[in-house]
Symmetry: C2
Subunit: 158 residues, 2 copies
């Protein structure tokens, strides 16, 4: 390696693959997330759940879900995504749901619910039973009625 | 009443008794509230509670406390204030604590805790048992140890 190579290395900086969003796009994303969470709260209330949206201003380390809901002896911790085709749930997000549910271990039935609202295509769900990354896409996962059926009968708790 | 009176009424607009705060003062207030909430979370964890701060970006209609904590069969919903001499808890804020606790009625023991951190004078507490306005001031209320004693034995639930 010559001194010239050291002084002016040819290697280009690694390109960034993160999306660059304008302030307007960020606002639109937040609004879309907010609307989806509110819609889900209303859907849950319609099924007899006490449901609450947790307005977290910034990514927080606290083990709080986007939405939580209670009905009799069951509690749901829900991570809500509003996307076009795919919704990704990272292990760390699933971990937060598990921590929240662990705190409420007095409830005999506890469910870590992954919810995805796809543009023009409606809602798809999953119930996370192990600590892992999850993906939801259109037509893959549980429908709303399938989710309700699943969480209305006893299952292994986390 | 003359036309002149109607055209130029002598009555002055009612003075506003609200404080006018600069952006810097608002930031300092928020920081003080945040620090008090974090401190209380650590105090509760030291007593074996699972405690979580709820970061609410704006005054929200959702029935969420500033802090909630769980230990065995008891749950606390806490409204935290950081003030100089007096801390006021409006009925509507107490109502939110009651609603949150009502949602978690599976817990046999539920406490709506009012917490005030006074500058240089430390913490004072109360447990709200009826829906009303409350005031805490220095040397009036429960100390931390008195609060712990009160919530560690069964009491009428809300």
């Amino acid at each position: 390696m010559s001194l010239r190579d050291i002084a002016a290395p040819k290697k280009k900086p690694r390109p960034r693959y993160t999306r660059q969003l304008t302030a307007k796009q960020v606002r639109a994303m937040k609004k879309r997330g907010y609307d989806a969470e509110r819609e889900l709260v209303h859907m849950l209330r319609g099924e007899g759940y006490d449901a609450v949206r947790v307005p977290v201003s910034a990514p927080s380390k606290e083990p709080l879900p986007d939405v939580f809901a209670v009905k009799a002896d069951s509690i749901l911790a829900v991570e809500v995504k509003s996307q076009v085709r795919y919704a990704y749930y990272k292990k760390a997000q699933v971990q937060k749901l598990f921590e929240f549910l662990h705190m409420h271990r007095l409830y005999p039935r506890r469910y870590a619910v992954l919810a995805a609202k796809f543009k023009y295509k409606g809602w798809w769900f999953d119930v996370a039973e192990k600590l892992d990354d999850y993906t939801l896409k259109i037509d893959r996962g549980l429908t709303w009625n399938e989710l309700l059926a699943k969480i209305s009968r006893p299952m292994p708790t986390v």
